[in-house]
Symmetry: C2
Subunit: 151 residues, 2 copies
Amino acid sequence: MTETPGGGEREEALEVIQRELTAFARRARAAAARMHPELPLVSYTLLAHIDDRHGCRATDLASHYMLDKSTVSRQVATLEKLGLIERHPDPADHRIQVLHPTEAGTRALASTQESRRAAYRERLADWTGQDLARFADYLLRYNGSGASDSR
Amino acid sequence: MTETPGGGEREEALEVIQRELTAFARRARAAAARMHPELPLVSYTLLAHIDDRHGCRATDLASHYMLDKSTVSRQVATLEKLGLIERHPDPADHRIQVLHPTEAGTRALASTQESRRAAYRERLADWTGQDLARFADYLLRYNGSGASDSR
DNA sequence: AATGACTCGTTGTACTATACAACTTGAACG
DNA sequence: CGTTCAAGTTGTATAGTACAACGAGTCATT
């Protein structure tokens, strides 16, 4: 257990990180669903991506989020049914649909983002700016290390 | 936007934290499922909790994980069907079932935990001990701030 | 003791998110 | 042309979840 000096502490930190990230993941969906029953977490995420990219293809979403194209297809259909995005055929390649947020989509996104931001702001109200910056860095580093594309 | 000196940086850090935690949550389930098809994330988590507590009630699991009791009931039934836990009636209160891991459950948990730990160890291999410790602290703090019970 | 309120857990039902496989349509290349 | 590859859709199945209705057990108060 203590072959390497200090190795035990390292293992312990790893254990905590694993446990706490797992705990977070478990709760995230439910929390998001409670916060925004009208715009589910995944739809929100995809919409944010579409908006961010100013038009993208379903395949891009699938590869970025490691989702099956069928999943994306249905999510996109839902977003369209909700009037939050539009699909435009790509004149250069008729297989492709370019996705764009509608006015309503942009608005819904902004309002959802604002209330999410407010929730985080409140939750992290008593953190110092330095701690927030460090935490943000660690998360970026963590996510970046395992994913080919972290947005 | 910049009413408070330094507030912009703060907002930016919050934005990153929000985005990265969301990104993480989105991927966690799929990643866990790919890593351990035989013991789904949620079952694993509940099993770990049961093991940790050396016997607990379904209601404890529900409140701890903010899950509906019906959800827990089915998860517990699944774990029992897999032979990973046993239910013992509480002699003092017949409404209660005390849950215990079986031998097989303890073993399955250990092996899953070990491979999860290995994945984290590898992913965080190039982090210094100090960074790991800090990251762990931040996560604890973050999770602790929003949940009545963070295990 | 009987009643009523509360707690623990199960079951019926429905919905979201997801994957995989089969298929359609279009593009590209020989 | 035909073959092969890419984009998206649709059928089907599964996990995880919630809510509501319910059955059974407990406890306090009458």
